[in-house]
């Protein structure tokens, strides 16, 4: 026992500084809960506390840039990994959180109450911060236990957030569906993790590859799958849990209901931060299956890559087709999220195939493409949902038809919304184009490779064209459709404030000005991908 204690202190000294942003998030949560006591809420609103905490955490995460590139390390006795990908996910998720908190301050959600004791602020911001914490943890989990905890950390508060609109039947139903589905997914994932742990005798991701390499996959009998079958089932079950988080078909059922029922601010955040974390986790978990030696790892990774390519093709096709018929903006953007996840998965598929086949360039290109896409996606989706939230505050509706004629009445909001949608389609010169270009280029650069990846890339291209139709429907409504009778002339709701405009511009600027920075950003993503691989 004495030896163990000797190792703890240096480990603590190493882990704590790297973990500082997460500790800030935890401190923010505690502070939010404490503001309820002692009547502090009167002079220190929960929104301000959340904003301060998120800004501080984001700033700290940004300061960690660079250090993680030079010396990647394990933290908390191997539970988490601290490397370039960790910092990348941390910065993006915390930035997303900060932007979401800012948006809630601007749109006044949750509604401030006259009685501070009845204020919903802490109730709202605590789960929001917890989702951010879970997302960040997903990006660094290095242990099956941590994997499960991080996914649940990001999921459980999200159920609360979705059902936050008190008294709304829609929101309650959505939250219940989300909860039930999430519980099922958690069960499946837990089962997978226990299978994998039983087969390999370890929970640590880095050790997984070596142990798996000892398990032969050849000659499995259908009626007697043995250890190999259990290992495969374990991997698949864990992937099912991750696919639930990524809302990939066929684990996406919760997405449209949840995004329609939840507040647009919440939907925007849930579509971004947990997804960035989950992608990082998927990459980490997938790569951990590939040990330093043995054919099992190669076979597993190649199979995984092909599965991802197939999943990508199915997800984007289904997501796009389903989005066609949607009338509600939240539902439309939810299905768009499903499709976008599919496109991003294409890069991960290229990465896994590259690793499985020993093609380092393909692996780096695929992962870098996904990372670049995720960066663009953060601004695109937050911008789109922010515009929906601001529209909702004025029209009190969230259907596509409610946008008719708003292009001239609220030019700034409409313009920002249009920029986001055009970016989601992937038209140049927006950030979406850059992301899609990087992912497609990676998938198509696989010259010797598998026909499946190539076919998936072609399906993705066809889907991009198809997605034009539903992404442009709101734009058409904004600019071409006449305003409904009786409302023309009179402004709806309070006028858009300058700070709301500034916020939308802040989100639209990176979307529009990414092209000149493409060289730097691409090099950065390449560097992260190389560091991880």
């Amino acid at each position: 026992m004495a030896r163990d204690w000797q190792g703890v202190l240096p480990d603590l000294a190493l882990s704590l500084p790297a973990f500082a942003p997460e500790l800030i998030v935890c401190a923010t949560i505690v502070a939010l809960l404490l503001t309820r006591l002692f009547g502090m809420a009167r002079w220190l609103p929960a929104g301000s506390v959340a904003f301060g905490g998120s800004a501080l955490a984001t700033a700290l995460a940004c300061l960690q840039w660079g250090g993680a590139f030079e010396s990647p390390s394990d933290g908390w006795a191997g539970l988490v990994r601290n490397d370039a990908l960790t910092v990348y996910v941390r910065v993006l998720c915390l930035l997303g959180w900060n932007l979401t908190v800012t948006l809630t301050l601007l749109t006044g959600v949750p509604r401030p109450s006259i009685d501070p004791a009845d204020d919903d602020g802490p109730d709202f911001h605590v789960p929001l911060a917890a989702v951010a914490l879970g997302s960040v943890l997903m990006g660094q989990a290095n242990h099956l236990l941590m994997l499960f905890l991080a996914v649940e950390m990001a999921s459980v508060p999200a159920y609360v957030l979705v059902g936050f609109r008190k008294g709304s039947r829609e929101a309650g139903e959505a939250a219940l569906k989300y909860l039930v589905f999430g519980a099922g997914a958690a069960g499946v994932m837990m089962y997978g993790a226990s299978l994998l742990a039983g087969v390999t005798g370890t929970l640590s991701l880095p050790a997984l590859g070596e142990r798996l390499a000892l398990i032969p996959l050849e000659g499995l009998e259908w009626n007697e799958p043995g250890v190999g079958g259990a290992a495969i089932a374990g991997v698949v079950f864990i992937l099912c849990g991750l696919a639930f988080k990524l809302s990939l078909v066929p684990f996406h059922f919760w997405t449209p209901d949840a995004f329609q029922g939840a507040l647009a601010e919440v939907s925007g955040f849930l579509s971004v931060a947990p997804k960035i974390g989950a992608f990082a986790l998927l990459v980490r978990f997938g790569l951990s299956l590939h040990g330093p030696f043995g054919e099992t790892g190669d076979a597993l990774l190649t199979g995984l890559g092909l599965a991802c390519a197939a999943g990508a093709a199915v997800s984007m096709t289904f997501g796009n087709l389903a989005a066609f018929a949607q009338k509600d903006l939240g539902r439309l953007l939810a299905y768009s999220t499903v499709a976008q996840s599919g496109t991003m998965l294409l890069g991960v598929a290229a990465c896994f195939l590259g690793v499985g086949r020993g093609d380092g360039d393909l692996a780096v290109a695929g992962l870098a493409g996904t990372l670049l896409y995720l960066t663009a996606y953060l601004f695109l989706n937050l911008g789109a949902f922010a515009a929906v939230a601001i529209f909702r505050n004025r029209t009190l509706r969230t259907d596509v038809a409610s946008l008719a004629g708003l292009g001239s009445k609220m030019p700034w909001v409409a313009g920002a919304f249009a920029v986001s949608l055009v970016g989601l389609v992937g038209l140049p010169p927006t950030a979406g184009f850059v992301g899609k270009l990087a992912v497609f280029a990676a998938a198509l650069s696989d010259r010797v490779g598998s026909p499946l990846l190539f076919a998936a890339a072609l399906i993705a291209a066809a889907n991009t064209v198809a997605s034009l139709f539903y992404y442009f429907r709101p734009i058409r409504s904004l600019y071409l459709d006449a305003a409904p009778e009786g409302t023309s002339g009179a402004p709806i709701g309070p006028p858009v404030t300058g700070s709301e405009r500034a916020y939308l511009v802040l989100l639209a600027v990176p979307v529009l000005l990414i092209l000149p920075l493409l060289g730097r950003l691409g090099a950065l993503c390449d560097a992260i991908a190389e560091a991880v691989l």
């Binding site: 039930v180 997914a185 495969i232 089932a233 066929p250 597993l300 199979g303 018929a325 000149p516 060289g519």
Partner: protein
């Protein structure tokens, strides 16, 4: 400071002026304050000083190339911003910044009627009163100068394209400066759209060269083209594509239609943008790209230039608008430059670019001076007899007229050479190259005769312009006209001096010598034979005499028809011609506008209508149909779901049923199926994976 540093500073210095002009409404809210104009003038003058210093410090014929910022570099494709500095760059820098300085100072006086809260615009039936926009004009002007210098300094085609588009955008703002007038708005849009047609070609050419060469730096393009590493197809697509861009920007046939309309902008804009700088951008780019252009492209350039010279000159004979004459004259002169570049007269073409910039901007400024004096009357038939009232302007304009006509007095020498102004030398150089070219290739004889005839026409319409404006009896619009203030006359005098003497020594003089220090070597082509230097020298004497005779004849005819002795309006000798159908046809610029309206504009609008109609009826129907289909499929799926999966549920376990009972009150139909589907999918996928991986 090194030469590149000086030029980069010169490029971005006017941005300060732009910023000052665009933000003046906050830091100088008073309308009668010229501060922004002074800042702008100082910045552009400073820019000129830097450019001049760079030109003096530059040593040697070796071009300086460098990179500023790499935008991205993928395998085989590199896009970057960077500079390429040689004698052409330096000449253009000095030229642009000098003319811009003169125009900027002139505009301080010209636009003084904008210095009020209640600017009255008389071009409407009901007088339009609006706040003046003095500061804004100088902001746009400085922005334009930066864009133009960015274009000129560009070390690769992509960089040039960036400057090219910025220049186009600034030109849109400047032409549409009086945007309340419908005519100005329409002209700005027309210029913008017509230019985009050419730019589409430019983009294609840029992409072709980028794909073939991997980067579009001029240095590497020329090396690759010289070494024959680029495929012929790439060179042809690249060359014709770039030419399309230049045809649009330099108002060459068949895209010349936007330039006459662009005169709707303020006159200083016409002087800077539409005579000296932006329209010369196309000529500059053809000159820059010459080492990489194949023979077919060069010959096309020559014929397009030749056609444009004539097509521009004929309508100029019949224009009644003061600036209209100058606009068509610009088209014609730009044709000359293109012609020279096409017949391998690189130096001659760019030499004419420089001289033309000086004398044409001089004439536009003189026109501006007249327009201000006559209360914005521009119709030459209502002017006349201004010589006495505005002697300085008249004299300066005369210098311009003599220069552009290429008139000279042979035999009389001043400082050891024939008494002549700048236009004589440059036009002489062009004609001698054209003559030598046609002597070497007799099949292309038209390339000499058309410009020779056009030289005569040029003298005729220019003398007509001067005669109608300044000579004869005073016209109806000249009441109360007086000489312009010094702030407008000073730039006119400086430009007059340059227009007269900048080309001293002709093609043996300092300007030509500096310009051609980095001239590309004349290539050999399969399509035609390039004239040798000796042949050009030999042709010089003939061409000089013939050009002089043509110009002399034109000037004499002009004097006879429109000289001081012409009769009062209504009794002029050519009166009968005034409304002949052919004259109206020529006056409207050969009716190109009508043809384009019928062939391009109407069909486009019609296609738009049809598309809107289709969208409203057919496409919406299709989309709704798809939606219905999707709903039906979903319903079918659901029924399968409920029957099939429900069955599975009972078999798989009590989990789903338990949940169903637990939440029976609030559950919607799908909840149980969701979880069942989740479990089924997970199990199914696991089985699939085992089968696929192990089997």
């Amino acid at each position: 400071m090194s030469v590149p540093a000086l030029l980069i500073a010169a490029t971005f210095l006017p941005l300060v002026g732009a910023l000052a002009g665009l933000t003046a409404r906050w830091w100088r809210p008073r309308k009668d304050d010229r501060a922004a104009g002074f800042v702008a003038s100082a910045c552009i003058l400073g820019s000129f000083g830097l450019a001049l210093t760079a030109a003096l410090r530059w040593d040697g014929p070796e071009p300086i190339a460098g990179s500023w910022y790499e935008i991205f570099s993928l395998a085989g494709v590199t896009l970057e911003l960077g500079h390429h500095i040689d004698s052409l760059t330096l000449t253009m820098f000095c030229l642009v910044s000098l003319v811009a300085s003169c125009v900027c100072v002139f505009a301080l006086g010209y636009l003084s009627d904008e210095l009020t809260h209640e600017h009255r615009d008389h071009s409407f039936e009901e007088e339009l009163v609006r706040p003046g926009r003095f500061h804004l004009f100088f902001g746009y002007l400085c922005l334009f100068v930066t864009a133009m210098l960015l274009l000129v300094i560009g070390g690769n085609l992509f960089h040039v394209f960036v400057g090219w588009e910025l220049v186009g955008a600034c030109s849109y703002l400047l032409i549409g400066f009086y945007y309340e007038r419908p005519i100005a708005g329409a002209a700005a849009t027309k210029a913008f759209v017509v230019n985009r047609i050419g730019d589409a070609g430019f983009l294609i050419g840029l992409a072709a060269l980028l794909a073939a060469n991997g980067d579009v730096r001029f240095v590497s393009l020329f090396e690759a083209a010289g070494a024959g590493e680029l495929s012929r197809t790439a060179l042809l697509i690249g060359g014709f594509g770039v030419l399309a861009g230049c045809v649009g920007k330099s108002a060459q046939f068949p895209l010349q239609v936007w330039l006459p309309d662009a005169m709707a902008g303020p006159t200083p804009v016409s002087a800077l943008v539409h005579s000296a700088t932006m329209v010369a951008g196309g000529v500059y780019l053809i000159g820059r790209m010459t080492p990489a252009l194949p023979g077919e492209v060069l010959l096309t350039v020559a014929y397009l230039g030749c056609a444009t010279a004539l097509i521009g000159a004929a309508p100029a004979l019949f224009q009644t608008d003061l600036k209209g004459i100058l606009a068509y004259s610009s088209i014609s002169q730009l044709g000359y430059m293109m012609l020279a570049l096409g017949v391998t007269g690189w130096g001659a073409g760019l030499f004419h670019l420089v001289t033309h910039a000086f004398f044409k901007s001089l004439m536009f400024l003189c026109a501006g001076s007249v327009i201000v004096a006559c209360h914005h009357a521009q119709d030459v038939t209502k002017l006349g007899g201004l010589m006495r009232k505005m002697p300085v302007t008249a004299g300066a304009m005369l210098v311009g007229v003599i220069a552009i006509s290429g008139l000279a007095i042979p035999g009389v020498t001043l400082f050891g050479e024939a008494l002549s102004f700048s236009g004589f030398h440059s036009k002489d150089a062009i004609l001698s190259h054209a003559l030598a070219f046609t002597e070497a290739n007799p099949a292309h004889a038209i390339l000499f005769w058309v410009p020779l005839v056009t030289a005569g026409l040029t003298a005729l319409y220019m003398v007509r312009l001067w005669g109608l404006t300044f000579a004869g009896t005073p016209g109806s619009a000249t009441k109360g006209a007086h000489e312009s203030p010094a702030v407008m006359l000073a730039p006119i005098l400086i430009l007059a001096g340059l227009a007269a003497f900048c080309a001293i020594g002709g093609d043996g003089g300092p300007l030509y010598g500096f310009l051609t220090r980095t001239a590309p070597e004349v290539g050999t082509f399969a399509l035609f034979e390039s004239p040798t230097e000796a042949a050009v020298d030999e042709a010089h004497h003939h061409a000089e005499m013939m050009g002089l005779i043509a110009a002399g004849l034109g000037a004499a005819a002009g004097l006879a028809l429109f000289g001081p002795w012409r009769r009062a309006p209504g009794h002029a000798r050519a009166e009968g011609l005034k409304d002949a159908a052919v004259v109206r046809w020529l006056r409207s610029g050969w009716g190109f506008d009508a043809v384009y309206r019928a062939l391009a504009v109407r069909p486009t609008l019609l296609a738009g209508e049809v598309a809107a109609l289709t969208d409203r009826s057919a496409l919406d129907g299709a989309v709704h149909g798809t939606a219905t289909l999707a709903r039906r499929v979903a319903r079918f799926e659901r029924s399968v779901d409920e029957r099939l999966v429900d069955g599975v549920v009972r078999g798989v376990g009590r989990l789903a049923r338990g949940f169903g009972r637990l939440f029976g009150a609030t559950q919607s139909g799908g909840l149980r199926q969701y979880v069942a589907a989740l479990a089924a999918c997970a199990v199914g996928l696991a089985v699939l994976a085992v089968v696929l991986l192990a089997g």
